[in-house]
């Protein structure tokens, strides 16, 4: 009996619940439905369908501010920044009190190098009460690009004040300091960034670069090596490490320790080789390889390296000037003169001195 009652109860409840759960969408909400479909697609990272849905939403409801905003955000993800700016501008008109619109548009502008416009947008977002620290961060980036280093540092400070673990803000503050000539300060910030996020390989890379400038070559090499341990294909660090070794080699050479210097120069060449191994269009690394080979008196090898750099970048003035030096040492005087003439043409003024002997 109890079983029967239970079955009846469950059946009734289910029926009732089923009946209760029966719903249908009220009519006249197609735009909203499309908008929600767009959001759902975005969250599934199906950006194409997200755009399609949001297109429908704004077509059905041309004053749908949020749809314009979301579409702008999706376009940012798709790196269609100009179009994103158009959408976000409409959203800004339609949604008068939505600071994140200005943030998103500022972000788009950073990506198309419109740094002045970006600063304005981030400022507007903040004035409207935008709370997240990334507005300060990206405004700092824009200031950095505009070479307003003090403003950049101020913004990075603010970002860090909101989020004490904002690794990017530490890192870029370090870069701003570096560009101001405060190398020790820069090194400190790069270290801090790496401390906050141990996977920031480029922080280690830039730390290496600063340490190199500070002539702390051993530490520089260690920093680059650390960057490479995180990202073994980061060819920039191979190049940087090569440069640190080259600088160290020059220092040792000045102490008349040629054998020791040559060993380090050879290590530097190995690093440049690794750099171009990962990026065979890395003209700078080829140039640097050539420079070190010149120091090793491997003029043929240097010539080859500079030639490769030039084949990648036909207007690489420094490579032409350097190759002239290599060719002179190979007794190819005419070829050397041609290269120096080309270097002068491309703006290397010191090469003018050498072409005097070309007549």
């Amino acid at each position: 009996m109890k079983k029967i009652l239970l079955i009846l109860f469950i059946s009734y409840f289910s029926l009732h619940s089923f009946a209760q759960r029966k719903k249908i969408t009220a009519s006249g909400q197609d735009a909203e439905l499309a908008y929600n479909a767009g959001v759902k697609s975005f969250l599934s990272q199906d950006y194409i369908n997200a755009i399609a849905s949001l297109d429908k939403a704004v077509e059905l409801k041309p004053n749908f501010g949020k749809a314009f905003y979301n579409r702008g955000v999706v376009k940012n993800e798709l790196k269609d920044y100009e179009s994103a700016i158009a959408d976000l501008s409409v959203a800004a008109q339609l949604e008068k009190n939505m600071p994140k619109v200005y943030f998103a548009r500022g972000f788009s502008r950073v990506n198309i190098n419109d740094y002045k416009g970006a600063v304005q947008d981030f400022t507007q977002a903040l004035l409207q009460g935008y709370k997240k620290p990334n507005a300060y961060y990206y405004r700092g980036v824009a200031y950095l690009k505009l070479k307003n280093y003090n403003e950049a540092i101020s913004d990075f400070n603010k970002a860090i004040a909101v989020n004490s673990g904002y690794a990017y803000a530490f890192h870029d503050r370090g870069s701003a300091k570096r560009l101001k000539g405060n190398l020790e300060g820069a090194a400190g910030d790069y270290r801090k960034a790496a401390q906050v996020d141990s996977q920031l390989y480029f922080a280690y890379n830039n730390l290496g670069s600063v340490l190199n400038e500070l002539k702390k070559f051993d530490d520089a090499v260690k920093a680059y090596t650390k960057a490479l341990s995180i990202n073994p294909e980061y060819y920039e660090s191979y190049n940087g490490r090569g440069l640190a070794k080259y600088a160290e080699g020059l220092q040792i050479l000045s102490q008349d320790k040629k054998k020791e210097a040559d060993k380090i120069f050879n290590d530097a060449v190995s690093d440049f080789k690794k750099a171009v191994n990962f990026n065979n269009t890395y003209a700078e690394a080829y140039n640097n390889m050539g420079v070190v080979r010149l120091k090793l008196s491997d003029f043929k090898g240097a010539d080859e390296a500079f030639t490769k750099a030039i084949s990648i970048n036909g207007k690489y003035a420094e490579a032409y000037a350097n190759r002239g030096t290599a060719r002179e040492n190979l007794r190819q005087f005419k070829a050397a003169c041609n290269d120096w003439n080309k270097a002068v043409e491309l703006g290397i003024s010191h090469s003018e001195k050498y072409i005097k002997g070309c007549k």
């Binding site: 959001v39 993800e77 922080a203």
Partner: protein, 692 residues
């Protein structure tokens, strides 16, 4: 002899000795040399022959002595005296660097082989660029001298030490250049020097002392073949095999080329025989060189004039001479042409800034007439002759000569320097290492100061974290709320009105406002149950029908605010039998009138369809009212209303015989007239089957 003369003579001897260091002849003792019988006799012959040549004290003779001594060393390589003599020979000939091995060996085997061994060792080290060891030996030698010897030799030894110090400095600040031998078209094991270029036609004149010298003889002064002038042309990337010039340029004595005019039509030649020598010039006439004539205004008596360089405008002539009135021995002299350009004026010494108490040799004026290149054993030479450069200032004075540097200059003799017109190349003669033998002619390529080499700057984008590793900053706006309608449910059971058995019926729900059929469902045959979810806010007409049954109709409203309402509508269907009757619940009239409202038509259409289908069926359409109003009026109204219904049905193709209209007024109530709901129920139209 007057005392003054004796003193002058003595001074001359001292001075001469201070400017030359004569090697001592050390006798090889037979007892020390002989080590075994076999080979001794032949070897000893070479010792003696070598010594014979050695004692001649002439460059060419030292070469001869060297050959014999080397052969003698094959028998006994450790004899100190023999090693010493061999070393000295090397120092006196074209390969002074090789002396070190033998002098070292001599010193090692017997440090006392000669009291001057350390001096020569010093020189040997110096030739090998081992300046520290050279200085050490010079200083030790100097320490070993007696006061008298020191007085005589100090200048020489100190000079050597100074040369070593110069050598160290010059090597630490070397000139960037290539120094290349001109090759075997020009150079041989014999000495080649004095290169004179006629650049326009890529022709090189030079001097050499070769076995095929004109006349085939050796100069008794130095036991070397007489000098001759040679010529070579640059073709196909190299200097062709040099050809000896003919008479009258070359004679059976010394003939050395020293200069050529800019047009290449006048050759300046040095001719010497017995230690003196003069300058000559020869004109080129079409296809031959005329017999050289002496440069009378330049040459002087029995003095030696060698090496001449004429300015490009042919107005100034520089030359080397050992005439009196100089700073010491060979000096550089200058002569200017008269205004009319026809005669050379009396030469002047170039002065103590340029000339030294040591020998100056070979001279070359630059094409702009402002720089003078010459060789000297003085100034800061690193040994032997070094090439120097001096510059003529606007006021006519000459700057302090500057050593043109290592690796051009060596501890040996570096002479006959000249520059190409574009100053990129230089040429000179040197007994440097790597030649074919003795002096060779070399080309110098000046590389200028070290060129800065530039490494590439790092990628600036990596200074910004976002650009190094972009991240998403997407902050998507949340979904919006969608209005949903909570459905209500109409459910019930359809049964046979008489038997109570379940009936499988078709139920139709119509939106009375629009006339649109909202849902059509069927009840289950087994249970008669049906369920229909319906949105709220509508006035519905529910009609249920099954074959052989009168249809059932009713209407109900689900309020707008209704949520999840369950509306129970059990339906009893009247079988289509006589007496079966239904209330036409969805037939409506305007108030107090008999005009049918259009909303009634669907219900009446169903009745019409039924009658069309069942032609045997005859029905009564009856009108009923509530009890309000008069009996008579109610009667009439109900009649009119019934008739309106019949009239409409007839328009739907129903036979007139099948239908009749009757008005019952208030006489047949079905509910209590005292209540509003009762009165509503009483106000009705019914259809009753009369016949089937």
């Amino acid at each position: 002899m007057k005392l003054k003369t004796i003193i002058s003579l003595l001074l001359l001897i001292i001075l001469f000795q201070s400017f030359s260091y004569a090697q001592k002849f050390v006798k090889v003792k037979k007892s020390e040399y002989k080590i075994e019988d076999e080979g001794f006799k032949e070897a000893w012959k070479h010792v003696k022959k070598g010594s014979h040549f050695f004692k001649m004290n002439k460059k060419g003779a030292f070469s001869e002595a060297l050959n014999d001594y080397l052969t003698a060393l094959n028998y006994n390589e450790d004899n100190a005296a023999l090693n010493y003599l061999t070393g000295i020979c090397y120092l006196k000939t074209a390969e002074p660097r090789k002396a070190l091995k033998y002098l070292d060996n001599a010193y090692f085997n017997y440090a006392g082989v000669s009291e001057d061994i350390q001096y020569w060792l010093g020189m040997a080290y110096q030739y090998n660029y081992q300046f520290e060891d050279a200085v050490e030996n010079y200083e030790e030698y100097r320490e070993s001298l007696t006061a008298k010897q020191y007085k005589k030799l100090q200048y020489k030894i100190n000079k050597r030490i100074e040369e070593c110090e110069s050598g160290q400095k010059l090597m630490n600040d070397s000139v960037r250049c290539f120094v290349d031998n001109l090759g075997d078209g020009i150079n041989t094991k014999a000495p080649e020097y004095s290169p004179v270029f006629f650049f326009r036609d890529s022709i090189l004149y030079f001097t050499s002392r070769r076995e095929n010298t004109t006349g085939g003889k050796k100069n008794p002064y130095n036991k070397m073949y007489y000098e001759d002038v040679y010529i070579s042309k640059y073709e196909n990337g190299k200097w062709g095999d040099a050809q000896q010039m003919d008479y009258p340029v070359n004679t059976k004595h010394n003939d050395a080329v020293t200069d050529i005019s800019p047009e290449g039509r006048e050759l300046c030649i040095y001719r010497g025989y017995k230690g003196g020598g003069d300058l000559y010039n020869s004109q080129y006439k079409g296809d031959y060189w005329k017999k050289p004539g002496k440069m009378n205004r330049i040459n002087k008596g029995n003095f030696r004039e060698s090496s001449v360089s004429v300015s490009r405008d042919s107005m100034v002539l520089y030359f080397i001479s050992n005439r009196k009135g100089g700073q010491g021995r060979q000096d550089i002299w200058v002569s200017y042409k008269t205004q009319d350009g026809k005669k050379w004026q009396s030469p002047e010494n170039l002065g103590p800034v340029v000339n030294t108490k040591y020998n100056e040799e070979t001279v070359e004026i630059s094409s702009d007439g402002r720089d003078l290149y010459f060789s000297s054993k003085g100034h800061n030479s690193m040994g032997g002759y070094d090439v120097f450069k001096t510059h003529r200032e606007d006021d006519g004075t000459w700057t302090e000569p500057e050593n043109i540097g290592y690796p051009i200059n060596t501890p040996g003799d570096d002479v006959f320097f000249m520059l190409s017109p574009n100053e990129k190349f230089g040429y000179y003669a040197s007994d440097r290492k790597g030649g074919y033998g003795d002096k060779d002619i070399y080309e110098i390529v000046f590389l200028g100061p070290e060129k800065p080499i530039q490494t590439a700057k790092e990628n600036p984008n990596d200074l910004i974290a976002y650009f190094a590793e972009p991240i998403s900053e997407a902050d998507i706006e949340k979904p919006v709320n969608i209005k949903v309608i909570q459905l209500s449910t109409v459910k019930g059971i359809v049964t046979d009105a008489l038997s109570g058995e379940p009936v499988k019926a078709t139920l139709e729900l119509v939106d009375n406002a629009t006339g649109e059929v909202v849902k059509v469902v069927e009840s289950y045959a087994s249970t008669g149950a049906y369920t229909v979810p319906l949105p709220p806010g509508k006035d519905y007409a529910l009609t249920a029908g099954a074959p052989d049954y009168f249809f059932h109709s009713e209407n109900f409203v689900i309020a707008d605010t209704s949520t999840h309402e369950i509306i129970r509508k059990d339906i009893q269907l009247q079988p289509m039998g006589v007496g079966a009757k239904i209330v036409l619940n969805n037939v409506f009239f305007d108030t107090g009138k008999s005009t049918l409202r259009p909303v009634s038509f669907p219900e009446l259409n169903r009745l019409a369809e039924l009658l069309v289908k069942y032609k045997n069926v005859r029905v009564e359409i009856s009108g009923h009212t509530d009890s309000q109003g008069s009996l008579g009026l109610n009667q009439k109204l109900s009649q009119r209303r019934a008739q309106s219904v019949v009239d409409y049905i007839l328009t739907r193709g129903v036979n007139l015989a099948q239908i009749v209209a009757v008005g019952y007024g208030e006489t047949l109530p079905r509910a209590d007239n005292s209540t509003a709901s009762g009165r509503q129920l009483n106000r009705r139209v019914e259809a009753k089957v009369l016949e089937k």
